[in-house]
Symmetry: C2
Subunit: 216 residues, 2 copies
């Protein structure tokens, strides 16, 4: 298989960043296929994949015409533009981007990385650095709790890709050792996001799983 | 001084992230005032500033009507929308965002943090972690060099905020110990960016520097 027949997601099932894309594709009703690359086995480091994303990360999206796009939140913005998942108003779009950059800089590197160390068996070797991740993650959760205390969603009281970006790793934060009990506003918001029409879970098998031979 | 009279940038002179905003405001001819907050002295942790950005980071922009926006690349996108610094084409905008998220996730946490450790006198205490920053930064520079080998700018052969976002910390990467000699395409691109009309340097005193009493 060389060029995909429909939008192809280069995926890693446990990745919250990849899950964001699966969720948006599902909620927008976009048919897609999915190639699972095991990052723990180095499957994103092959020449064939690096040709699609020189930064060798999932998620990466590939279109039948050969275009590729990386960075989960850039993918979300592109897919959601013109849909109910991204406001048209310029200021609200700025706020959506603010929260998505917050997610990638202040949230994901702490909460997702702590979770990754746990499930990949690297918690012991990174034990000395875990307190810094816990402190950074706790700060990020505090910023979110404070914001959500008076709001239903992150931007303009409407569900958007800002919520999706932050939901991805927040709803599995306990897998990285973060206790969400002290964050009632976050927990209520997680429930609101999960109740959205077309919601799929991180463990749901969505899209058509296809094999991908490296030498294609 | 309570509400600003014109757009106010909460700034830290040595910050590449803040410099991005100074550069875009200058190139777009937007009049602005500037409050310098010394992050090394905790001046972003005051209640007055946290009320403007709960994540207590510079740059933060404040408008005379009280709106505040954080995250350098979200600010760039908002300011540049509708100008020559951001393409209108949806795919090119996706690519701009892809590079801006790459910058915040794969570039800045390595290259900017290594530089920060050096100039803030924290290099010795972080010596054990410096190799990881050097490896991550070197990878990011490799991705950039590879992309620029056949291009003049990051997206669509036009200067955009993607270039500005990546220029900010790349052009001072040597201050973090990164040698740019092995990256001829990056060095040629740095020269092209610096030759753009209205370019200002990170050390240039732009905007009106104003005092800001914390209890305002």
């Amino acid at each position: 298989m060389n060029a995909p027949q429909k939008i192809r997601l280069y995926d890693y099932f446990e990745s919250g960043n990849a899950y964001k894309v699966r969720l948006v594709l599902s909620q927008l009703g976009i048919d897609f296929e999915r190639v699972h690359l095991d990052i723990l086995k180095g499957e994103t480091r092959t020449a064939a994949f690096v040709a699609r994303n020189a930064n060798h990360r999932v998620p990466t999206l590939e279109w039948p015409d050969g275009r590729c796009l990386a960075e989960s939140n850039a993918i979300l913005f592109y897919l959601a533009d013109g849909t109910r998942l991204l406001p048209n108003d310029a200021w609200k779009r700025a706020e959506v981007l603010q929260w998505m950059f917050f997610e990638q800089y202040s949230h994901e590197p702490n909460i997702a990385v702590a979770r990754f160390w746990h499930f990949s068996g690297q918690a012991t070797e990174n034990a000395a650095r875990l307190p810094e991740k816990m402190e950074g993650g706790t700060h990020a959760l505090g910023v979110m709790e404070n914001h959500l205390a008076e709001r239903s969603y992150f931007v303009g009281e409407e569900y958007s890709i800002a919520d999706i970006a932050l939901y991805a790793y927040t709803h599995v934060a306990h897998e990285g050792g973060f206790d969400l009990v002290p964050y009632p506003a976050i927990r209520a918001w997680l429930d609101r996001v999960a109740a959205q029409p077309g919601h799929v879970r991180i463990s749901d098998d969505v899209g058509e799983l296809v094999d991908w031979a490296e030498d294609d």
